[in-house]
Symmetry: C2
DNA sequence: AGGGGGTTTTGATCCCGATCAACAGATTTG
DNA sequence: CAAATCTGTTGATCGGGATCAAAACCCCCT
């Protein structure tokens, strides 16, 4: 089982992804952006300033996974949003909470460009503008859905929803199920789902017992039954719509 | 106390608002939009379709208060987002949940325009584009903050946060405190804060006992002590930043 | 005044997830 | 290798909000 999965993962070229490609494809749109952008490679856990160097910097995710962390007063840390390849990150789109920081949850590459340059690029090209508008719209929808998830779903349902999201985004279909490489840490997941780590641990045990989740060492997990997993989340179809590219 | 408040409210021209004007001012930007838009006047509780008549219709709020309602499966109905004058509403920015509908929470006026026309307008005018971009960014930030509120704050803190938001947006400063006219129904508030009506009732009783909230008949409420109210929410400063116009 | 239907309130109880504490691995450090 | 530290697990207990049911209050009627 493990071997099959690792084969699938080492074979980067042929892997049959469930969701989007991990690295955004380089289209003409990207090429135009690229000219004005500074590529930044970040390691795991590295923080990116949102207020430096220019007042409003725009980041575009090329590969990897990033997230916005914030904390309210004496409340536990929260992971407000996850960013996947193609996503657009800017301070103005995030709540002005103190200590809001952009953190790489995995080794990632982002393109940094000043807000002015970004706006100018959009103005110059109609297609590009529509494309970015669509992406920003999707991200808004995801933020809104996240509130819905946290507000209405039980712990188990929230966790199932996250697994579905990760499966669609960074999952790789193997013979034994869908494998996910290098996911969030336990604490990250707890902060994202507004649960505490203790509770999350109980939930994962329950999922393991139900056969929905198989931990393979090294931060890799396997989802043996996609159908059952989807049945465990009341918003599976919505997640599929939001996390699968329209193609 | 009541008399003072009603004076303040009947005197529409001179009222000293805490937050934004209830009706967006008619700037040049608006004038350009106006040419391509169909004004729609809606009554309380009226629903607006988001998928009709064109696949992606854009609404711009001119006055009043609207909200997105949605429900997950057997879960209780949720109020995902509130829209104030100047806000931009489009289907693509909302999660593709079944039964997601745009509802007027108060008598309102919106401008309806087809997505294509909206995009074309933005492309034509740089200032307009920047302005809309800023508004959409703010709305995204509010959606994200809402997830944060629901995920991290207690019932009392959530309610205090909502009162602060409403005070900033539609509150009117009077001698006895800040008055709010025609707020959301009990159920609306509960759905927005991800609480159930029973719990919300207990919270309001508590607020009344603490002297933070005075109900005046006819859907009007009074916030006698703005400072104490702000102290009851850990995100008061963030709310002020998001719900006060930069001017 | 007296109904009648809806909403808000209140009381009693329950349950999910938080909290606290102790322990087990894993990783780092001397 | 052992000490230290961080992360994840498990058990016991607690509490905030949910749930259910009944009473009180509104508002509109005629």
């Amino acid at each position: 089982m493990t071997i099959i999965l690792q084969n699938a993962m080492s074979d980067t070229a042929n892997r049959d992804r469930v969701g989007e490609l991990p690295v955004a494809r380089l289209t003409e749109t990207d090429a135009a952006l690229r000219e004005h952008a500074t590529p930044v490679r970040v390691r795991r856990r590295q923080r990116l300033s949102l207020d430096q160097p220019t007042p409003d910097t725009v980041y575009i995710v090329r590969s990897g996974l990033l997230g916005i962390e914030a904390a309210i007063l004496g409340k536990p840390r929260q992971l407000l949003e996850l960013f996947y390849p193609g996503d657009i990150i800017r301070r103005a789109n995030m709540p002005p909470l103190p200590n809001a920081t952009l953190t790489a949850l995995n080794v990632s590459e982002v393109w940094r460009l000043p807000a002015r340059g970004f706006e100018a690029l959009l103005a110059a090209n109609v297609d590009q503008h529509a494309n970015m508008q669509r992406r920003l719209g999707e991200q808004h929808a995801r933020a809104s859905l996240h509130a819905s998830i946290i507000g209405a779903l039980s712990g188990d349902e929230r966790f199932a929803s996250l697994l579905i999201e990760l499966g669609l985004r960074i999952g790789q279909r193997g013979a034994a199920g869908i494998g996910i490489d290098n996911p969030l840490s336990r604490t990250d997941i707890a902060d994202y789902l507004a649960l505490n780590p203790d509770t999350l641990s109980r939930i994962t045990s329950r999922f393991r017992a139900r056969g929905l989740l198989v931990p393979l060492g090294g931060g890799q997990i396997l989802l043996p039954s996609w159908e059952e997993l989807c049945a465990a989340s009341p918003i599976a179809t919505t997640l599929k719509a939001l996390h699968t590219p329209p193609g």
